[in-house]
């Protein structure tokens, strides 16, 4: 499945909902599906700075594709992180680097993020790209 395909799926899921409460309920519920991050990965260097609560992200190259691990104590950031990971997990580093990853805007979630900066969504996206960039030779 390509990033674009998964993105379309997420957008479709959110488009049906017309109020913030339902959208965020999905975000929150999605967060519950994030697999637990292995303890040894929850180290300082994997903390994403710019989030008000502690958010962790790390990745492994698995053959040609990247596998992501994440954790957040708070549920809303965890949900956003889960959606982001769903988008890029199992994808090639160069595809991730090139992707726009603006699904949150397209799905109408970002409009509802008046605390966008506090959520650290931008920091999460940037961190995902940085993880992928580590494996891209130029």
């Amino acid at each position: 499945m390509s990033i674009a395909f998964k993105e379309a799926e997420i957008i479709e899921e959110f488009e049906m909902l017309d109020n913030w409460q339902d959208r965020f309920q999905i975000v929150i519920d999605t967060g519950e599906t994030l697999p637990p991050m292995p303890e040894e990965r929850m180290v300082d260097q994997n903390i994403i700075h710019g989030c008000q609560n502690k958010v962790y992200l790390s990745s492994d190259l698995n053959g040609e594709v990247l596998h992501f691990y994440g954790h957040s104590e708070a549920q809303i950031p965890r949900g956003l992180l889960t959606l982001l990971i769903r988008l890029v997990d199992g994808e090639k580093p160069e595809d991730i680097v090139q992707a726009s990853l603006d699904v949150f805007e397209k799905a109408g979630i970002k409009d509802n993020l008046s605390m966008q900066r506090a959520v650290g969504l931008e920091s999460m996206i940037k961190r995902v790209k940085l993880e992928a960039a580590k494996y891209v030779k130029n």
Partner: protein, 408 residues
Amino acid sequence: MADKLDVMKIREDFPILHQEVNGYPLVYFDNGATSQKPRQVIEAITAYYSGYNANIHRGVHTLSQRATSAYESSREEVKTFLNARSTEEIIFTKGTTEGINLIAQTWGRHYLKTGDEIVVTAMEHHANIVPWQMICEESGAVLKVIPMDQNGELILEEAQKLIGPRTRMVAAIHVSNALGTINPVEELIAMAQKVGAMTLIDGAQAVPHFKVDVKKLDCDFYVFSAHKLLGPTGMGVLYGKLSNLEQIPPYQGGGDMIRSVSFSKTTYNDPPLKFEAGTPNIEGAISMAEGIRYWNSLDHAQVAAHEQDLLQYATERLKATGDYRIIGEAQNKVAVVSFLLNGAHPYDVGFILDKHGIAVRTGHHCAEPVMQFFEVPGTIRASFSFYNTRAEIDKMMDALAVTKRMLA
């Protein structure tokens, strides 16, 4: 009814309160972070800039004299507000943080030696921890901490043990921003005086709620920020006994703080100007005084009764369901409730409350050691002002019920 605070009338003075946020009428419960401003304060700033803006202490022209006299009469207002002995004891700063740093960097740097001890409490704001840590590192002095109990009250027997012959400074928070506790600073000051130590009281959260009398407290230094007391940001006060202010070296160098300058020798001005280098925050001082005048115009017994009613009501409602854990249950509290929704991260709760137009503070409130003590990642803090109402607390409780469902 005459004996009750007329909250609806007061609210008319605060333009910002009359708006919708995210489609709901704003409920502003983040007064501990900064208070809202009455129109009198906002108008004072406009009046200054549109009527008599000029630099102070340096011109003979009329505008400069008007600005200077307004600036200096603000000092008079603050002097009366704190019941200081003279205006020389009132130093204008940019806030609580600068006031504490000023003392740490001047008095601290000059007098502290290896092995000297600075005593703070377990519930300090970072502003009353880090400046001391910095000067301790420089001087070899040591920071000691008076512990608190599970209610969020200081353990005075421990304070008694900690404050001893090596203590040079006791720097204590008057009212905890994270817990609402009103500390028995009178007793800490008495302990410090017995061993000849200096005292500094962080009054940032005290002056917005009750009358403070520095002469009665008999502390050496008292600091607060204007923006938490109906006034502007970037403005604050450091009170110091004149005898101390004369002894300690100046803070920053520049204009206004000097008597004469030559390349071979500079002599310093007297306090308070000795500590106010450069062009100060003129409109800040003027509008701070206006905020104090507004505060003075209120009946403080009515304000206290109203705020205590809000505190009690919010506490009761939060306790009624068993869904919340209140952090900080001291006997003596200002109108601040710090709490957690069981099973939820404070951050998520703050987010969903904001969606309902309710402004609360979430996080560690610049008091990480307090969060570490209670072993929580942070709290949700509703801090009330005299312009808040029970009806607003009801709205918060309704929004919390939705929050609970969403996060379950």
